[in-house]
Symmetry: C2
Subunit: 126 residues, 2 copies
């Protein structure tokens, strides 16, 4: 797999409830940075964050609108969609990934507006 | 200029107080979208937004950490730095650009966290 394909497969696993499989595609010192929230280092910290993020979420879709890769760097523009019951929380996201020469992700950094997430979550949960 | 070079030159003009020159590099229906804020259509709307954004700013630097281009699409990861007096407001940003075949930017979309901007501005202005 080239770096863009690694990112595609990683996203496929993250959004299909295959967290163990996703973590097989990251380095042991992977940096997982949600810019407004902060950085997690290592697969277990990534797992903890993702498990917490997915709590109460019934379905997740990352709709990738644009994805561009050069060398080890992959940047994408997405709409991350979280289904809660029969409602969807849509979060616009721009992602930065670095994939090493062994095909493992060493950086996943997402840019988004935290207030957008919070307000849409509140609108759904009431 | 290829699309990445158009973006480079556009950023150079925006950050060197050459707004007229920057607007020469955009289409007449350019979409300028600051994701947490909203979309502006057309060069004059872009001008109005940028003039308001730069009010009270003494110096602007867009430090481009990563930039990747394929076809007409350019994505980058930046630290946008705004100097107010002797203090810098640093805003992490991910940008999406589309450059048409005539070398004009038809889309500039920036992803960032609005609270980060507001909190850092408040910290500087008191």
């Amino acid at each position: 797999m080239n770096p863009a394909e690694v990112v595609d497969e990683f996203i496929r696993r993250v959004t299909s409830d295959d967290l163990d499989g996703a973590l097989q595609l990251v380095t042991s010192d992977v940096e997982y940075d949600n810019v407004p929230v902060g950085t997690n280092i290592g697969p277990e910290a990534m797992r903890t964050f993702l498990v917490q993020m997915m709590a109460g979420i019934d379905e997740v879709v990352f709709a990738v609108h644009r994805q561009v890769a050069t060398g080890n760097t992959v940047l994408n523009e997405r709409l991350d969609r979280f289904r809660i019951g029969d409602k969807w929380l849509d979060l616009p996201v721009a992602g930065v990934f670095e994939v090493n020469d062994e095909g493992l992700i060493s950086l996943w950094r997402d840019y988004f507006d935290m207030n957008t997430f919070t307000e849409r979550l509140t609108a759904i949960l009431g």
